[in-house]
């Protein structure tokens, strides 16, 4: 028997420091560092004619002012296009400071460094930039007309255009399959912009060590290893001379996977140049206008189906607004296009998207990353089919489900990781059964009628999704047992509140048979682990979890080998329990893992009593072989990597009951139910927390949050006063149930859970409001004012 911690709701190990004020977030570091501030464009589209800094030069405490002209080669170059794709024929990225044209409000133009942030902002306020205003391009459809251009050399404002087609089994294309279907429908759907909006913004703090000629950078990032490589390349430093650490990070949700941000290049560069520590912490307005948004799409749908609601053909054309630049490529619309089919087997599918430039903040993944739009499209389609045929909405979905015996199921497309879109496992009919039972689906019509009799208006809705999680290419883990019996685990990807220190410790403790208290975990610190991809796409548990498990298995095997020698036993007869290696069935014959660690490292010098056991006159090693046997290394440690052949597909289904006020059109969520399948659960408490948070963001996106741009490209609600993030008063109680269909693709059988909660919420709420109102809901988010207008337009 081994210590079973995998699967237990273990309390989080990161909590103690966070509840006592001892967490260290970016701006908690570098108390004596100089502060950077930025002059940012107030215009959505303009040419920079002149920059006059003279008035700022007298500001007390000013250290430096930089414009694009001041930047050296490489630092001044456009930021990298991180994920090239053949369809992204016109990818464009920004300069770290505007070179001549600014393309969205908030684009950085001048960098100021001063003794503190107050003084840096004083100086920034005195810098005068002379702009020639250019015609702003705002709104997806306006931009797609191409009458004015965001980039002179991008005709039609089209950055990318991609078509994927999956013919029916009979070889029919979607167009012909739809034309030949007994029923067809065509409609348009809209989703507006929202954003990750972590409560801690971005931030960078750099220390240049002039004696050592090395640079240490702290960044509030989702990928410290890649930031490190980018900084080394930009600053022309040898990679080993640059270290990047993600300290405690106050939420990410996607926005912090983008890198290097202008500030991640400029702050370290200034620190090197000035020989001083420099820090920049983003403020809330900066976060709204200069980080990244997501979600905005217009979708045109054509669908053909039979009398039972089986989808025979589906054709979706998507206009995707990617803002002013494409540093993260076209990952978001690719995910929308490829995850749209959800848990369904569709006759023939054709999807086409155009990714369009506008003079707005760039669009990069926000939790869900294109899936909320995809699910909105597919689930609205299912509801329309049900309405057209007069069938139950759940029944139409069930009619189209991929069945449990059909896995692995090939959807016939290329996924966001460049690999085939093949679902590994799932049980969609069981999910739906559980969901219907939880929410009381079959009893709802009676409940609705009863409420209606008392003048109340209720509606029920549901939504299903499949989420590709744990995308490659790889993650690694390093595990070291030291002579005090402690287990030190490290992995390169970063943490933003997911509880990795706890779940990775659970995995290591289970694999090695040691108490949880003996295990410590470090993430996102390139000094500890240099190879990693990052935290995004619900991949951390799958990727690093499995890598750490594999590394632990190496360590375990080595520990058993060494212990077998010490105990004169066969390694196959040994087990590790509570940090003790012992012979099965003979508890007297045992050796602590701490001692095994000592024995693993033959010594000349005894630095303490324990170490004396491994010194050269201790007789610990036989005389007939070298102290470190051939093929072995000193130390009880192991490193391994997990690189999956393709992604693993989690799934889930949500349902909600809403009430709409007949007079005020206020929308209230009365109940919210979630059935979730992420394979084997490592820590159910943490998975549940992830779902709660995701649903809350989904509720924000469905009912409250949007980015309101005016025709000039000004973001009118760039503050928490006007961007309505839900408080406790807006988020309903969330009921959850778990289904576990293990993934056959990885040793632990797990799937990702981070993004799931947010994915179907807009679809579910739209479905429920439509049911309550009897009016088609085809754009989200929806406010009471908009619902009121819909009623008026329908003459109610």
């Amino acid at each position: 028997m081994t210590t079973r911690l995998f699967g237990e709701p273990v309390q989080r190990r990161e909590d103690r420091r966070l509840i006592t004020g001892q967490g260290l977030f970016l701006d908690d570091l570098g108390r004596d560092a100089l502060a950077a501030a930025f002059v940012r464009s107030p215009h959505a589209h303009a040419r920079v004619r002149d920059i006059d800094v003279s008035a700022a030069l007298d500001v007390d405490g000013l250290v430096a002012i930089y414009t694009w002209e001041d930047l050296p080669e490489r630092v001044r170059d456009p930021l990298p296009l991180l994920i090239p794709h053949p369809a992204l024929t016109h990818g464009r990225t920004a300069y770290p400071l505007a070179r001549d044209v600014v393309r969205h409000v908030g684009e950085p133009v001048v960098m100021v460094v001063a003794r503190d942030r107050y003084l840096a902002e004083d100086a920034a306020a005195l810098i005068e930039v002379d702009y020639e205003i250019l015609k702003p391009v705002v709104g997806i459809e306006e931009a797609a007309l191409g009458s004015h251009l965001v980039h002179d050399d991008v005709p039609g404002n089209v950055g990318a255009h991609l078509v994927q087609e999956v013919p029916s089994r009979a070889g029919l294309g979607a167009g012909r399959a739809i034309d030949a279907a007994p029923h067809t429908l065509a409609f348009r759907l809209d989703i507006e912009r929202s954003a990750s909006t972590p409560l801690e913004g971005r931030g960078v703090y750099a220390r240049w060590d002039a004696d050592d000629r090395s640079l240490r950078v702290y960044s509030s990032t989702q990928t410290s290893t890649s930031v490190r490589m980018a900084i080394a390349a930009k600053l022309g430093l040898p990679l080993p001379s640059v270290e990047v650490v993600a300290p405690d990070v106050g939420g990410g949700f996607g926005v912090k996977i983008v890198h290097p941000w202008p500030e991640e290049v400029l702050v370290p560069w200034a620190a090197m140049l000035l020989g001083r520590e420099v820090k920049w912490a983003e403020d809330r307005r900066e976060h709204f206008i200069s980080s990244a948004h997501e979600r905005g799409q217009v979708q045109h749908v054509r669908v053909g189906f039979d009398d039972e609601g089986h989808v025979l053909g589906l054709d979706v054309t998507i206009l995707h607004d990617h803002g002013a630049y494409t540093p993260y490529g076209i990952i978001v619309p690719i995910i929308t296009a490829t995850q749209l089919l959800g848990p369904y087997r569709i006759g023939a599918y054709r999807v086409e998207f155009s990714s369009i430039y506008t003079n707005t903040v760039q669009v990069t993944p926000y939790r869900g990353a294109g899936r909320p739009q995809a699910v909105f499209c597919m689930e609205r389609t299912m509801d329309r089919i049900a309405a057209h045929l007069g069938l139950d909405r759940a029944q139409v979905r069930a009619a189209n489900f991929i069945q449990p015996d059909e896995f692995p199921y090939d959807q016939g497309m290329v996924f966001q990781d460049g690999r085939p879109l093949i679902y590994d496992s799932g049980d969609y009919p069981e999910s739906l059964r559980m969901l219907k039972e939880m929410i009381g689906w079959d009893g709802f019509p009676a409940m609705k009628a009863e409420a209606a009799a008392r003048g109340r208006r209720l509606g029920i809705g549901l939504g299903c999704y499949v989420e590709g999680t744990g995308v490659g290419p790889y993650e690694g883990g390093h595990v070291q047992v030291t002579s005090d019996g402690r287990v030190h685990v490290s992995t390169g990807l970063t943490s933003q509140g997911q509880g990795h220190e706890t779940v990775f410790a659970q995995i290591a403790a289970t694999e090695l048979g040691v108490p949880l208290e003996k295990v410590s975990v470090v993430t996102g610190d390139t000094r500890r682990f240099g190879y990693a991809v990052g935290t995004f796409a619900s991949r951390a548990a799958v990727m690093s979890g499995n890598a750490i498990a594999l590394a632990c298995r190496k360590v375990r095997e080595k520990a058993l080998r060494i212990a077998a020698d010490a105990l004169e036993a066969d390694p196959r007869d040994l087990e590790i329990e509570d940090g003790l290696v012992r012979v099965v069935g003979n508890p007297e014959a045992s050796v602590p893992l701490a001692t095994v660690a000592v024995l693993s490292n033959p010594l000349r010098y005894a630095f303490d009593e324990e170490a004396a056991r491994a010194t050269q006159f201790s007789g610990a090693t036989p005389m007939d072989r070298p102290p470190v046997p051939e093929g072995e290394e000193p130390g009880l440690e192991g490193r391994d990597y997990y690189s999956p052949v393709r992604s693993t597909f989690a799934s889930g289904m949500h349902a909600a009951i809403v009430e709409t006020d007949p007079d005020t059109a206020e929308i209230r969520i009365l109940r919210y139910a979630v059935v979730h399948d992420c394979g084997r659960l490592i820590n159910p408490m943490i998975v549940e927390g992830q779902i709660h948070g995701g649903v809350a963001q989904g509720v924000g996106g469905a009912l409250y949050e949007r980015m309101v741009y005016d025709g000039h490209g000004q973001l009118l609600n760039a503050s928490f006063m006007d961007f309505l993030m839900p408080y406790a008063t807006e988020v309903p109680a969330i009921e959850t149930a778990h289904l576990e269909t293990p993934s056959p693709l990885n040793p632990l059988g797990i799937k990702g859970a981070g993004e799931a909660g947010v994915i179907p919420v807009s679809a579910v709420i739209a479905s429920a409001i439509e049911d309550a109102e009897g009016l088609p809901i085809d754009r989200m988010p929806i406010s009471p004012a908009e619902l009121y207008e819909l009623r008026r337009a329908a003459g109610r």
């Binding site: 309390q11 989080r12 990161e14 909590d15 103690r16 966070l18 509840i19 006592t20 004020g21 001892q22 967490g23 260290l24 977030f25 701006d27 908690d28 108390r31 007390d60 405490g61 503190d116 107050y118 909006t197 972590p198 409560l199 801690e200 405690d248 990070v249 106050g250 939420g251 949700f253 403020d283 809330r284 933003q496 509140g497 997911q498 509880g499 408490m685 943490i686 549940e688 927390g689 709660h692 948070g693 995701g694 649903v695 809350a696 963001q697 503050s719 928490f720 006063m721 993030m725 408080y727 406790a728 008063t729 988020v731 109680a733 969330i734 909660g757």
Partner: protein, 172 residues
């Protein structure tokens, strides 16, 4: 020419601290950068998110909307001052950890201060009073469900702690 500095003395977590600050220095910045108490966080700088909430003479205030000079002569409690003298966690701190009421932990200090004051005012709040009581603090990670649970749990823990010495008293 530098800015005029004001000398102020404020009692933070029971310790008198003297500091010279410009008139425009925010209390949040003074606590974080002048006094090194970085547990108080700043999430919006316009008084909406509640991350910077501290207790001023026991009452929750937004330290990002308070000038440090106006806090002179007052008692301030920050998240660093919530645990007992031996580092024993307060009922609110214990409950937040027990109920998984935090994820990234950035908003947590503001919630802890808010809830500490809430339960002092109302040791046994109803569900509605709890939601209302924390409705001035934003959290982007948890969806609030476990925070609500934690407030109720903290009320329970505090009641148990109050009850224990009383029982001892009866026996004596």
């Amino acid at each position: 020419m530098g800015e005029a500095l004001h000398e102020i003395a404020l009692t933070v977590n029971g310790v008198v601290r003297e500091v010279r600050v410009p008139g425009r220095r925010l209390l949040s910045d003074c606590l974080r950068h002048d006094l090194g108490l970085t547990g108080t966080h700043v999430g919006c700088e316009h008084g909406v998110c509640g991350c910077c909430t501290v207790l001023l003479d026991g009452e929750p205030v937004r330290s990002c909307l308070t000038f440090a000079v106006t806090a002179g002569g007052h008692e301030i409690t920050t998240v660093e001052g919530l645990a007992g003298p031996e580092g024993e966690l307060s009922p609110v701190q214990r409950a937040f950890s027990e109920c998984h009421a935090l994820q990234c932990g950035f908003c947590t200090p503001g919630f802890l201060c808010t809830v500490t004051a809430l339960l002092r005012e109302n040791p046994a709040p109803t569900g509605e009073q709890v939601v209302e009581g924390i409705s001035g603090n934003l959290c982007r990670c948890t969806g609030y469900q476990n925070i609500v649970k934690a407030v109720h749990r903290a009320a329970e823990l505090a009641a148990e702690a109050d009850a224990t010495p009383a029982r001892t008293g009866e026996h004596a």
